[in-house]
Subunit: 431 residues, 3 copies
């Protein structure tokens, strides 16, 4: 795996390209293939199977769904809708069917989007048995009265739910958490971008000479996956987690956005807001009321973990969302790389979020240490302003994040100066 | 009494019409007639007499004032100003007089409004003995030099201050308080609207199958009445009151307004703001510095009860205020009914302002309970959004009011959904 | 000394005029002459000498600098730059030199401002030995190639740092602090305005029949002076100081401005903001990040005294700043007097910032005390509004400043009414 920053962007895009055609759902072989692929890049990923029927809080792991083929054939034997062309053509979790029926009956099982006539919608029915086909409004409007042969060659039977997990130990037991989901079929921004960016972050974390914190990274099916994962790991997570991130919709290059945790002011929230403020020229801050992914579980009442979501164009807000239009053109190497960089900065800020204290009373004499321009002129004061501001707020009360927010500077920029002031003995790290 | 909502609006207007001609002041038979009329509708009202000379904090109940007749006669024996035409013609608490005097002397006793030439102003002098007449600027400008016969046939002598009081018991001793005043002569919005809306609320409260809270409702003369009432009842009120409302100027149909308590964030304040936000398309929020009615006493330093004022057009802010123009055309059945509804909503919100907690970890599976659309489509998430948001904040920390504010929904709308979630065992009320 | 307000404005301007020509720096005879002059007006000022080499936190008192003469002579023996014309012509703390050199070598020692061709810049080099001349861009551009005779007749040798200090005792040990600086050569707003306004305030404080608080007033060289002063007096200051003010750039008549303390909400901050709000039609509120004078030391981490800066046009923000253009035309009697008045109001507010409590329950009956207009008319309520508002918030919790802020009135105006209410026994001062 390549951690050269100039190449990681392309690598992520290539991974997404490779994973795109796989037919994923909340269970089944598509999830396994996806995890195997990710594991081939980061062998630390453990793949875990949870049997159908396993209880998890209010939920039960459903039967496993696999699908071999599906199509609608017209009376001339012409396959007019074919799963082989797009795995979005079949409603997720469709039960098997092999029937001939008239158009008016078939219509009850068809889904299309009149306002997006070229898009195949993404539809699922996980917990209510049914079958159905999704097609473009254009295709649908061409259907002639007559009989159609409808085939869904799927299985729905006890099996398991599959997810991937990595725990990278650090000097401290306290954990930083990343969660992304691998249950969406052929859609790029939502959701191959999350898995590939998370996989790249995993590579980055492995490459670090040492880690202060322990990292818990999971690749799960959405909702049922996070619920099952919490049912198994909640105690440990609650005890140790200092910040967590749902990584979703991070592939397009349009905007950045952030969805806060339920309580809204956890360390994860504050770090994300700080990083995005300096990383992006602007970003959208959503409300927890706009939530829609696994933060729904991580932030639920009795769970309340410090987890927020970091995104580019949020699910539900962009035209291509949950349709066949969310293809590899929606995401880009640049889009993925920007998100990867933003999350790397969150990691750095968390790892370095110490508190410092100035070692002397009053301002130190920077000049005798070569830290101050020797000649006082009209403008010289400004050159050392940031350094002076750091010294002014290094009071042992403000950690890096708070100090940087206080003086309106990027924390990562402050860190460079703090290192220099430490070298000169002017700042000392507090316990 | 009619509690059919379609008829209560007309009933309130009729009561105001009946009460309009009575000559009220802070003491005297006009107050008694008014209270007797209200009692004829709600016999639970107790009418209480407090003797002149009774001390109440810094105040003393004044002598009782009654008036039989008053007029100004010109030299031709023509009554040019006559109390029988409008009880506003006499300065409230005018001492008796029967004199002939020249115009220039009479002018010292006349009050008119140059900027509202058709309005008789409302003037009183409760604690400084004097007499006077109020008339329109038009009338005044027609007065010719000459002698005038001036008669005020009034009595000012020891008697009592009269007020009405109802205590409706509830399951809890904690009290909700309504205060309105019955000391204004023939003016409609300020102040017959308050007494008639309060009387209708009293009827509504009686009609409830059960009440959580105890209700204390009083019909008093302004200022001296609330001071006297506090002097007698403060201990009990301080111990039990959770929220109180001064009901005044609630009859016109122009706007809603709210004047907060001194401290500004009592339960009464928060309930009123929440209700008005959803009840009215907009409302005016005044400052406690704009106060002018009995909240001056209820919120005074050593008293500090949780009382705010709910109004339509606030006293002092509308053209007709404190003049003969504030007549039955200023108020309307609709205007009164809107206020009645708003205050009913405050009552419901207070009665139901419990705290709930979700019974499971993570989100519950709504689908298996028929609470979730079975087919997941692009938009289906939005349909259950409010339900999900309620579940997300039903953490045993947010009461109904706080929960509704948090998720930007009307508390009364939330209540319907909470009831359904309770039925499904997903929410449980916290003690 | 004249404390007649009509004459104090002119007196301050005269003092500045007298002090203007003196060549000041952070040490040396110019500082002594300045302090002697101020002492001739207020003999209470003690002049203190701190020997070169004395350690103060991270700093050491430098050698004393004195200068007799300095010039640049061209090859015709013409003095083209002459210290006698302006003491800004020499870089502050220039070491002695007596050399002939070619223009290109001389240029390394010249300072001018291309964008302000008529201004001599103010340049210093206290802690790095060098010499240099400042001149206008116009002068500089006329220099012809050739040899120049350069003379700085200065001494840089062990001596002392000189400052002035007054402690005016009050009834309480708690202190109010004023700090201003006397190290700038011939510049008016920055900085003769500070010393002369502070000197006038000292006169005002002496003239008071009694003082509640103790006043600590110092005239120091900037930065090294405040550091040295803190090193000697920090314990006492930390124990007693309730509010302090850096007085700088208070002479021009353009605007008012305020720079908060590091923590931003000390008593000094709140008093200054309140006073400026009512004293000036508008004022600029800077951030502590914009700091540049001795609040850098007074508010530094381990010091954290409650000190803010009160200014007219802040250093660094006006065209004439740190150049020869900051002359006696920049400041004016009016400008100085406005600042003097603002600071006097701060003093009054601090001295009178007690807490009061209303003595009765409910509103008092103002009428029987002659405090209320006897006749209640449409507008009469407004006349006593401020009095009523004071009574409404005189709860023993709000001090004068908080009460005034709460009711949106000037504290000094409230004070007059509070006095009257005290006389009537309606308010009582809390311990």
């Amino acid at each position: 795996m390549q951690f050269d920053n100039t190449k990681i962007a392309d690598a992520m895009y290539q991974w997404a390209t490779d994973l795109f055609p796989i037919s994923r759902s909340i269970t089944g072989d598509g999830v396994r293939q996806t995890l195997n692929y990710l594991q081939s890049i980061n062998p630390e990923i453990n793949i875990i199977e949870v049997p159908s029927g396993t209880k998890a809080f209010d939920w039960v792991v459903p039967d496993e769904w696999n699908i071999r083929d599906a199509y609608i054939e017209d009376s001339h034997g012409q396959k007019i809708v074919d799963f082989k062309n797009s795995n979005l053509h079949v409603v997720g979790y469709s039960e098997p069917v092999d029937k001939v029926m008239a158009l008016h009956e078939l219509q009850q099982h068809l889904y299309s989007l009149p306002e997006q006539p070229d898009a195949i919608p993404y539809v699922t029915s996980y917990y209510q048995r049914r079958w159905g086909f999704c097609l473009t409004e254009k295709q649908r409007s061409c259907l002639q009265p007559g009989n159609y042969h409808v085939v869904v060659d799927s299985t729905l039977q006890p099996g398991s739910l599959t997810y991937g997990e990595v725990i990278l130990p650090g000097r401290e037991d306290k954990e930083i958490f990343f969660s992304t989901y691998v249950c969406h079929p052929s859609m790029a921004n939502n959701e191959l971008s999350g898995p590939v960016v998370t996989n790249a972050l995993l590579g980055y974390l492995k490459s670090l000479p040492e880690r202060r914190y322990t990292y818990r990274i999971i690749f799960i099916p959405e909702t049922i996956g996070s619920i099952v994962y919490l049912a198994k790991n909640f105690g440990q997570m609650k005890k140790n987690m200092i910040a967590g991130f749902v990584v979703t919709c991070v592939g397009d290059n349009r905007t950045y956005s952030y969805l806060p945790s339920r309580l809204g002011s956890t360390l994860a929230d504050r770090v994300t807001e700080h990083v995005l403020k300096y990383h992006a020229s602007e970003y959208i801050k959503y409300s927890f009321l706009d939530r829609g992914s696994d933060e729904r579980q991580y932030c639920s009442v009795h769970v309340d973990l410090p987890v927020c979501s970091v995104m580019r164009s949020k699910y539900g807000t962009y035209t291509e969302y949950h349709t066949s239009l969310d293809d590899m053109n929606v995401i880009s190497p640049d889009g993925l790389y920007g998100s990867y960089q933003a999350l790397k900065k969150c990691i750095t800020l968390l790892e370095e979020n110490y508190t410092w204290q100035i070692t002397c009373c009053c301002e130190p004499q920077l000049g005798k240490r070569g830290l101050y321009p020797m000649l006082s002129t009209k403008d010289s004061g400004r050159q050392v302003k940031t350094m002076m501001n750091i010294l002014a707020y290094a009071d042992g009360e403000h950690n890096l994040l708070q100090l940087a927010d206080k003086i309106n500077e990027s924390a990562l920029q402050c860190l460079t100066i703090i290192r220099e002031l430490e070298r000169h003995g002017l700042l000392v790290k507090c316990n």
